[in-house]
């Protein structure tokens, strides 16, 4: 019976109902879309930042992250490979040795990072091969051939086929230098990385830098990248305290925090909009309910209890709220699904993304029904809360008082 009366009332006060539904539906769609965009764009930026080079899971000697010196290397890469191959959930493994050297071309000398990588394994661990701009990517049989960033190549004024020298310190602290042939040039989009990094085949690097069977880190690609932290925990248990395995959330904690902070500010901004919408829904509900004071007074005089009045009005708000979040959910969900497959292009803001190493000016939304359901529930709760004050206010009147209310 209450549902019938509520539906009748909703139809009778059509204007108020339409405005309430429109506002609530708009809020629902806005929240669904905004949170999907924030989560989606952050996921995309993080995935790009992780996949370009750092990798989902890094294993280092326990002190290497704090003191990245040659005293804190992984000194038996083969043994590490053997141990890791017995752990389930790993899709690929690759060793890297990173060091900083002086690169010298014909007229230019600049400092930069020289890293020895296992080209075939690396192909699965990072996007280095996909970032090829000129020439070709490294292969496992390569000797003194270098694959360098577009910015570094520009600084050194070298092209594919040119030569450059490097001078650095070997893993045994000996002096190390050689001539390298430029095999390929890459461009990841990360300004810092492209400006200062060069790669060689690790087998060659080991000879040149006296680093046979050594590595600064081992990169692991989990079968399920979203479970990197759990896998890191499992690896830590297997490897013992001498080594440290870190999932990308911990190894790139600065970027993860930056995204979280961005979300916090995003939600604060949304909260202001919702606060105003909350007030407006409350105002419209109050106007509607107070406008029906005489009718409610009459009902009370005829024996309707305050509880029944409460249920009747609450039911109206619930039906309006449910209708609104359904419409808003459909609209917001539709938008989210569309932009999931057709990411928003933020052309003109590439520099900003590059500066922060984010490498993505195309931002997709994330389409997850569970997130949509969560946002719908938030708005429904808000809209029901907005009705509490007006309902209690009208219920406080005595029947006679309500009948005479103007």
């Amino acid at each position: 019976m209450f549902i019938k009366i509520a539906i009748k009332n909703i139809c009778a006060y059509r204007k108020r109902s339409i405005i309430t539904v429109a506002l609530t539906a708009f809020s629902t769609a806005l929240l669904i879309f905004s949170s999907a965009l924030m989560t989606g764009s952050h996921n995309k930026m993080l995935a790009n930042a992780v996949e370009v080079y750092p990798g989902y899971l890094q294993i280092t000697q326990k002190d290497f992250r704090d003191v990245p010196s040659y005293d804190n290397l992984i000194f038996d890469v083969k043994a590490m490979h053997r141990k890791l191959s017995s752990i389930p959930g790993i899709a690929a493994i690759g060793a890297r040795f990173e060091t900083f050297v002086l690169f010298a071309a014909e007229n230019k000398t600049v400092g930069g990072m020289l890293a020895g990588i296992e080209p075939k394994n690396e192909n699965r661990l990072s996007r280095l091969a996909q970032s090829l701009k000129e020439g070709s990517y490294l292969s496992d049989g390569d000797a003194a051939q270098v694959y360098l960033g577009v910015g570094l190549a520009k600084k050194l004024q070298v092209k594919v086929g040119d030569t450059l020298a490097f001078v650095g310190t070997g893993a045994d602290y000996s002096f190390s230098a050689d001539i390298l042939y430029v095999k390929g040039i890459f461009q990841t989009g990360s300004f810092d990385f492209d400006n200062s990094t060069a790669f060689v085949n690790k087998a060659y690097f080991d000879d040149a830098m006296a680093a046979e069977n050594y590595a600064t880190q081992i990169i692991v690609l989990p079968q399920n990248p979203s479970k990197s932290d759990a896998l890191a925990e499992q690896i830590n248990q297997q490897l013992g305290t001498e080594y440290q395995a870190l999932g990308w959330r911990k190894s790139m904690d600065g970027l993860v925090e930056a995204m979280e902070l961005d979300s916090v500010f995003g939600y604060i901004s949304l909260a202001i909009i919702f606060l105003v919408i909350f007030f407006v829904i409350m105002i419209y509900t109050l106007l509607n309910i107070m406008g029906r004071s005489r009718e409610i007074g009459m009902m009370r005089a005829l024996g309707t209890t305050p509880g029944q009045v409460f249920i009747m009005l609450w039911m109206e708000c619930l039906i309006l709220g449910m209708l609104s979040v359904f419409i808003g959910g459909l609209f917001g969900g539709g938008l989210t699904a569309y932009f999931h497959f057709h990411p928003i292009q933020l052309s003109g803001y590439e520099e900003q993304f590059k500066q922060y190493g984010l490498m993505a000016a195309a931002l997709p939304t994330v389409f997850r029904p569970i997130m949509i359901a969560r946002d719908i529930l938030i708005i429904l709760t808000l809209s029901l809360f907005a009705a509490i004050y007006p309902i209690f206010k009208v219920n406080r009147y005595r029947p006679l008082e309500a009948i005479h209310h103007v």
Binding site: I19, D71, T109, S269, I272, I273, V276, Y284, L286, M290
Partner: protein, 405 residues
């Protein structure tokens, strides 16, 4: 007459105190939130720009033609006309000169690529207050200029502390590699790229190390009034032979984009909030007019002009808007003042803030235009919200209004 209209409008608002207070609260809360957020966001961007201009780019940076493209040590600024301009132009607050070269820093256990900055400490202190960024050690190159000031992140990577020995190597003017051993005298944190890769050493020492007898790589210029003079001075300086003149926003396009993106974001949020708030005022004004149809009908029948009734209704809307604006401005202004004085400590997100080039304590800025624009927006929302009910009233005839129940 205005007093009567004012009295009637006030009486009407007082009669429906609950709903009037609700509208006033709505405006106040949304203004409080918007003002606080706008000041904080602008403060964040201003902080990033200030860090970049003070430590790295100045308001204007001057290089030799081609240097930004090639980064060649041979491309140096050495112009008497420039020196004369910098010393004599009244719009210039201060300037400093740097010699820069890419190189490598090494400790006993680790090496890293760096940029060597040959600076004059007094000039840098005067121009960008570089001394304020020192977080450890002192702002000095010690006796015989054997010291170096390095970026905090670089120091951390090198595991170097005050007094640690470092060796810097770089290509000199005759294309050979020169090296020098130095002791760290200071560590600075600017929240810019300098933290990662800067080694500051004495400018004369840099000349000796890199065999640069004269000329400099970069001149950082700080202006007395950046917004007003930057474009004109850039043009004036570009007229001097052999120079390339860059504004801070050309050197840091990402910061300019952040600023623009922030302005657009604030505009969208404010637009949405004021549209919704306007809808709230509209609801109250519509009901207020509809409830008093008979009252207005009688007034019209007794000879009251429609413009006078219109004034009452408009005044009601404006009174609510002004009271909401006043309350919101007081709370918003107080919050901004607090955030300007004491800042918002977000140390919990310090690593994330560093990734964006920000300090962990964020300070808000207070700009008069926040309040003027908010007042204009609130008044506009109130005006538009009252317009529709008024039009409805205007179309009705006094007799039909009197018959309204």
């Amino acid at each position: 007459m205005f007093r009567v209209i004012m009295k009637l409008a006030w009486a009407s608002l007082s009669r429906r105190r609950g709903r009037s207070l609700l509208v006033i609260s709505m405006i106040a809360v949304c203004l409080w939130g918007l003002l606080s957020l706008e000041g904080l966001y602008d403060g964040m961007i201003a902080q990033m720009i200030q860090n970049a201009t003070r430590s790295d780019s100045g308001d204007i940076s001057i290089f030799a033609k081609g240097y930004r493209q090639n980064n060649e040590l041979a491309e140096l600024v050495d112009s008497a006309a420039l020196d004369k301009f910098l010393k004599n132009d009244g719009r210039i607050l201060s300037f400093s000169k740097r010699i820069m070269q890419s190189g490598l820093v090494a400790t006993a256990h680790y090496a890293r690529n760096i940029t060597i900055y040959g600076i004059d400490l007094t000039e840098e202190q005067k121009n960008g207050r570089l001394n304020n960024y020192i977080v450890s050690g002192e702002y000095s190159f010690a006796n015989r200029s054997k010291g170096a000031i390095i970026g905090a992140e670089l120091a951390s990577k090198l595991s170097a502390k005050i007094g640690s020995k470092i060796i810097i190597s770089a290509q000199n003017m005759v294309n050979e590699v020169s090296s020098s051993a130095l002791k760290i005298t200071g560590i600075l944190k600017t929240h810019t790229v300098l933290d990662k890769n800067a080694v500051f050493i004495d400018r004369q020492k840099t000349r000796d190390l890199l065999m640069v007898p004269r000329g400099i790589t970069q001149v950082l210029v700080t202006l007395k009034n950046r917004n007003k003079d930057i474009a004109v001075i850039q043009g004036d300086l570009a007229g001097i032979d052999g120079l390339e003149v860059w504004r801070w926003d050309e050197i840091y396009p990402a910061l300019l984009q952040s600023k623009q993106m922030n302005e657009k974001f604030n505009l969208i949020i404010s637009f949405l909030v004021f549209c919704v708030a306007g809808l709230g005022i509209f609801g109250v004004m519509s009901v207020s007019v509809l409830e008093r149809m008979r009252e207005f009908g009688i007034m019209l029948a007794l000879g009251t002009k429609f413009s006078q009734i219109g004034s009452i209704i408009m005044l009601e809307a404006f009174l609510m808007a002004i009271m909401g604006f006043g309350t919101g401005s007081v709370f918003g202004g107080a919050t901004l003042y607090y955030l300007k004085q004491y800042g918002l400590n977000l140390a919990i997100f310090s690593k994330g803030l560093e990734a964006f080039g920000m300090d962990s304590v964020m300070r808000a800025v207070i700009r008069p235009q926040y309040f003027f624009l908010a007042l204009a927006a609130v008044m506009l929302a109130a005006f538009v919200s009252a317009l529709l009910p008024l039009r409805f009233l205007q179309r009705a005839k006094p007799v039909s209004l009197i018959q309204t129940i």
